[in-house]
């Protein structure tokens, strides 16, 4: 896939593959195209070339050219960069909006109860405005809101940004837990290598809009020279 904004090319022939039930990380520092890739999958940015194929129940669906609404309705949810909550709606209203798509509505109450159980702080603050919560609470709300849509595939864009290290571990641990319960397929973009590899089955390293390295396991990722250089400082 190739993509960019106007004359600026961001992704140069990126190709990745995610299988059902996997947790795949997309590692890269700022400005290497992680978010653009996420936006392409969600239909927010239209790729200039290439295709994005979803294979479910033996059916192939090309996502390119579809609107974000259609893609959400196929069971893909994004926890966007910067969280993008509705700041002047309450926590509960944010969560209920997460279940907007028709396929998610019948399960709303069950999912809501589950989210409150998984994130007790959200239950405590359900009547509070989302914008008035701390960064960590907002990130949890963003993840919970995405889960409310009953997704099969969850895309998470940089959950660690702006969070204290202790909160990052907590959010990452929660994502792993939820992934098991919901049997999700997860693609997570991160620059926090240590945290990301805690939950990843495997991953890709993206540099300047190209896949620089594909690690078939977290061990392969950790041993890769680029990782040592950029993330581990070895």
């Amino acid at each position: 896939m190739e993509a960019g904004y106007g004359a600026v090319r961001v992704l140069h022939g990126v190709s990745i593959e995610i299988h059902e039930g996997e947790t795949v990380v997309l590692l890269g520092t700022n400005g290497n195209g992680k978010s653009t890739l996420m936006k392409c999958i969600m239909g927010i940015v239209r790729p200039d070339a290439g295709e994005i194929v979803l294979e479910t129940d033996g059916r192939r669906t090309n996502l390119v050219g579809r609107s974000p609404e259609e893609i959400v309705n196929l069971g893909i949810a994004l926890v966007p960069e910067g969280r993008r909550l509705f700041p002047v709606l309450t926590v509960e209203e944010n969560l209920r909006l997460g279940a907007y798509r028709r396929a998610a509505r019948p399960d709303l109450e069950r999912n809501l109860a589950f989210c409150f159980e998984a994130f007790p702080v959200l239950r405590e603050r359900q009547r509070q405005l989302a914008g008035s919560m701390s960064g960590g609470e907002q990130q949890m709300l963003a993840v919970a809101r995405a889960l409310m849509s009953n997704p099969r595939i969850l895309l998470i864009d940089e959950p660690s940004v702006g969070l204290a290290p202790i909160l990052v571990s907590r959010v990452i641990a929660k994502i792993r837990e939820l992934k098991e319960i919901y049997q999700l397929t997860v693609l997570m973009a991160e620059q926090n290598f240590n945290q990301a590899t805690k939950i990843a089955d495997r991953g890709y390293i993206i540099v300047h809009g190209q896949i620089e390295f594909e690690g078939h396991s977290t061990r392969e990722l950790t041993e890769h020279a680029l990782v040592k250089k950029y993330y581990l400082g070895v």
Binding site: L78, R84, E93, L97, R101, R105, S132
Partner: protein, 292 residues
Amino acid sequence: MFSFHLLLNVIVAGILLGGFYAAVSLGITLAFGLLNVVNIAHPAFVILGSYAAFVVNSRFGLDPILAGLLFMPVFFLLGIGVYRIYYASFEKRAEESLRGLVFFFGIIFIIEVSLSLQYGVDYRSVHAAYVGDSFRLGPIELAFRLAIPCAMALVLTLALHLFLSRTFYGRAVKAVSQDHLALRLMGADPVRIKGLAFGIAIATASLAGALLIMIGPVEPSIGREYIGRVFAIAVLGGMGSIGGTLVAALILGVLESLTSTFYGPSWALAVSFGILLLVLAVRPSGLVGRAG
């Protein structure tokens, strides 16, 4: 002559008037407060609603309130149509601020001129058996022509409140101007949501118009008197809060009623602009405004 009895009746009349103001302002709260669409033509749509009620009332003798309710679906579609044009011409290209305002000015003139050409500039009114009657509640005299509009306004307020707080569409309407991309990520199309909400806002004008012509006679340009009032109420009510709109409308109604009784009717309009300025200076987020 000041007396407690008079004061009580003036306050009650103000509450009834305020209820009616709520009906006129709810459309502004929706369009301006929640959708960021500066629909200054809303009072003109209300006048259009008055004339719709007038026409079916004078031709077929239909009850004006019933006429207002019957025209709501027509106004709903009209609202969606207006929003589509507004969206395609201005909002899509991010030119809505000034040009959008001119667009709605244009709509005011189109509505006023069309009504003047068709029905003249004379005052028109509706007839219903109960319009001239009143009933007594202890020391308070309640005129049906004020009490019924107030009751209908309360029903409308409650209906809109339930729509916004209990339905998926309603919650999406509240969210759409906060982050329209995030709304798309929930699977909702912001343009459809805004069209639907604007349609509902214009549909309320149909009922509000019927209430207006029940309260008193209407001529095509009378809507101009309401532009200041409805914006004062929407701002005082906290921009986008249905309950806040009702409270603000009641406050304004009572203040206007007191002012026009004790100082003279010509001061009544000064009250709304006074409130608008005061609120913008002291508490711009309104009575129940949520901090952005």
